[in-house]
């Protein structure tokens, strides 16, 4: 029987209370959101917090809304809520496409968007999604709040820029016109993590690509991002050649390693093929007619 090591449990009912508790209980305390990464790690003693601060009752962090030119997603939004959100899908179909392939329906009922990003598992799907969308991360701590681009949030496998007394509160995604997005993932079976996955966002203005985001997961891309591939698309007209070139750059500039999910060359091949598909679909969706 796997059981976590003993800890103290505290339930926060507001963000301010959660931050105060984190400060009071010190660096050996951790917040618990859905618990679907943290509890398995605690059972294996890979994590051993002394105090767990339950943030499941922070309804103030559970929202998906548009404010001005920004789609705002609260940290406590469950995977299932983002998966089914018409508002999120209307602007960015990548959300529903990625979410329906994350874990399984039972995990999606509990796991949260904030928990996914903070867990920073190298195969986390939402890290690739928010990298493609060039999102900003909002963070609150006892000193106040700060905002980081997603490219500065993940600092390595399982590590983030968060200080021990900070909480991720919101993810901000800029709304863009003439923009399409898509997600492509290959997994061994339902509920498994990606062998490789690619998320894309492309904006086309006056027939030329004016903005591109390509997020990769499970293939050790720096900050879950294929920057060289993104840059190669800027100023080009959307064409099969441009897509193929970007896909090939994405496959070259990641660092997959062989494991039980497959050998390195297979993973690179997947990245290239999935990038092509996700870029084509995003480009199709960027056309104003296809809404």
């Amino acid at each position: 029987m796997q059981v976590p090591a003993p800890f103290d449990y505290k339930r926060a009912s507001t963000l301010a209370e959660a931050i105060a508790l984190l400060r009071e209980c010190g660096p050996d305390s951790r917040v618990i959101a859905g618990g679907h990464s943290l509890l398995p790690m605690m059972k294996l003693r890979l994590a051993r917090p002394e105090v767990l601060i339950d943030i499941n009752h922070l309804s103030e962090l559970d929202y998906i809304k548009v404010d001005g030119n920004t789609l705002k997603i609260g940290a406590m939004v469950r995977h299932v809520t983002l998966q089914k959100s018409h508002l999120a899908a209307e602007y960015y179909p990548i959300f529903a496409e990625a979410e329906e392939q994350i874990a399984d329906p039972l995990v999606r009922n509990r796991g949260t968007v904030g928990g996914s990003l903070c867990q920073a598992d190298p195969a986390e799907d939402l890290s690739a999604v928010f990298s493609a969308l060039k999102a900003d991360i909002l963070i609150a701590g006892s000193y106040g709040t700060r905002k980081l681009p997603i490219s500065e949030f993940h600092t390595g496998p399982y590590t983030t820029a968060l200080n021990p007394d900070e909480i991720l509160t919101e993810i901000d995604v800029p709304l863009r016109s003439n923009t399409g997005s898509a997600y492509e993932k290959v997994e061994r079976r339902v509920g498994d993590w990606a062998i490789a996955a690619v998320g894309t966002m492309v904006r086309v203005d006056d027939g030329l690509i004016s903005e591109a985001g390509i997020g990769l997961t499970a293939v050790r891309a720096d900050h879950f991002r294929a920057k060289e591939a993104e840059d190669s698309l800027l100023g080009r007209s959307p064409s099969t050649e441009a897509i193929a070139e970007a896909a090939s750059l994405a496959a070259r500039h990641c660092n997959p390693f062989a494991d039980q999910r497959g050998p390195e060359d297979y993973k690179r091949h997947l990245v290239e093929e999935l990038a092509k598909r996700a870029l084509s679909r995003a480009l199709n969706r960027s056309l104003p007619e296809v809404h």
């Binding site: 796997q2 059981v3 618990g35 679907h36 509890l39 398995p40 059972k43 399984d104 039972l106 509920g191």
Partner: protein, 163 residues
């Protein structure tokens, strides 16, 4: 610490260690052994119960986190001595062999039919896709849930509302 929750419509309260998982609280403290406990790694779904109306893996929820919630286990299916149509469906269509996955499967099925009374085969398979059955090959589970859909008037669960 003290936890209070409603389990199958009955208010329960107990003194527990914070590290106690919901599945063990149900099985050991409340002796509701219909909820099974399998992989321990959040993968098999045999421990599925409804928490505030949503199917969850009870091995990956602390009993402390469930305090204040409404929990439905397989013992809460059916009412007034009558089986829930989902339970009857598993009998009629031979939806089980060893029965290890069955209570979890039936709770996901109940949730599905409460939200989608007439699901397609694809929707049924999607709803149980977080749960593993080592015996049936799933075919008869899908048939059982279809049987329940065809023979359902309304839910046998006393609670479990979700937006």
């Amino acid at each position: 610490m003290r936890v209070n929750m409603s389990v199958n419509g009955v208010e329960v309260s107990d003194e527990i260690e914070p590290r106690l998982l919901l599945v063990h609280f149900l099985r050991e403290n409340l002796r509701l052994t219909g909820t099974h406990w399998g992989c321990d790694t959040s993968n098999c779904g045999t421990c599925t119960v409804l928490m505030d109306g949503m199917p969850v893996k009870s091995c990956t929820v602390l009993a402390a986190m469930a305090s204040g919630s409404q929990i439905t286990t397989v013992e809460g299916l059916g009412a007034n001595g009558e089986l829930d149509p989902v339970q009857q469906g598993f009998i009629e269509m031979h939806g089980l062999q060893c029965g290890f996955c069955t209570s979890g499967m039936m709770l996901s099925a109940r949730w599905l039919l409460d939200h989608n009374p007439n699901p397609s085969e694809k929707e049924i398979r999607e709803a149980i896709s977080g749960q593993i059955c080592r015996c049936t090959g799933y075919e008869n589970i899908v048939r059982s849930i279809k049987w329940a859909a065809a023979h359902s008037q309304n839910s046998g669960v006393q609670q479990g509302v979700e937006a």
